[in-house]
Symmetry: C2
DNA sequence: GTTGAAATTTAATGTCG
DNA sequence: CGACATTAAATTTCAAC
């Protein structure tokens, strides 16, 4: 199930449209793609079943929720052993300020994307939830000036997946 | 419009549920929250109007789309001037491999989250789209071992937004 | 791919605090 | 007057043809 799925032009077209607006109706999709609504329904159901589509997520505005400051924290965990990093990951994920967490190669073991109210709130978070922990050897804080979502995620070589008849 | 919006317990409950599953129907939301479906509709419409809810996004599985390797690229752009970084940002956002882009404080100006097919594909991307560019002074590549979404994004002090009568 | 029934969304109206 | 509930119409989903 970890292998890539064979997607035809209709699947790709639907995915591209849904990534622009995940609330598109099957009718709208069908009109745009040039197939029947029920076909769109079947295709989307298959994409969900095969795990290509993981889910639908709400995109919120952190600033409107009193979290106008975002930052990335580069964290070194020492020693980097399973019995320490398991609980570390669980705790970071449970923080209301955490938005995303990455386990990385390189000098920093983890990158944490956080959203806080203001610089004082960020300082509190870093001091109370990170540097105060024994397993956290170092935290580097980088503020986010601006961030962008990028274009739709699609297979690297769409034409290679298509039959050309 | 940049200020935070006053949200009551019903709004917060709806947001929490929608962040778990953005495809919940208003009927389901209403049953869970304990209000009428039309009230849920009104609340969600208001949350969209006031900019708390920005949109609904499809969550895809990069591995299923032939992009099983993800990485973060830390990029220094020199000189860091508007006339250079504007086109740089536009170009990075347009790359099919780009998933997200951040403008940061600290020694690295940008962080780019990319999804590629394999290490060779990553090497091609870094060489052809980053280091070959005159304005890119340095690129540091960090592979992503694992990543986690975190809990729902909610106001820092929910009770402070609620009237206690 | 098309049709038709069931469910959902959505707007309008009515009612309570 | 504002917020919520009820009702009804339009749309969408989804299964059967």
């Amino acid at each position: 199930m970890a292998d890539s799925v064979v997607l035809d032009a209709v699947d790709l077209h639907i995915l591209r449209l849904l990534q622009n607006d995940a609330r598109s109706t099957y009718r709208e999709l069908a009109a745009e793609v040039g197939v029947a609504p029920s076909t769109c329904l079947d295709r989307v159901a298959r994409l969900r079943r095969t795990g290509v589509i993981l889910g639908h997520r709400l995109q919120l505005n952190p600033a409107k929720l009193g979290r106008g400051l975002e930052a990335l924290l580069l964290v070194q965990v020492r020693p980097h052993r399973r019995e320490l990093i398991g609980p570390f990951v669980d705790r970071i994920r449970a923080l209301p300020e955490s938005r995303a967490l990455f386990h990385l190669t390189g000098p920093d073991d983890y990158l944490v994307h956080v959203a806080v109210a203001d610089p004082a709130d960020l300082q509190r978070l870093v001091l109370d939830e990170f540097t105060s922990r024994r397993e956290v050897a170092r935290v580097e804080t980088r503020l986010i000036f601006q961030q962008w979502e990028c274009g739709p995620l699609l297979p690297p070589t769409p034409s290679a997946h298509l039959s050309s008849d």
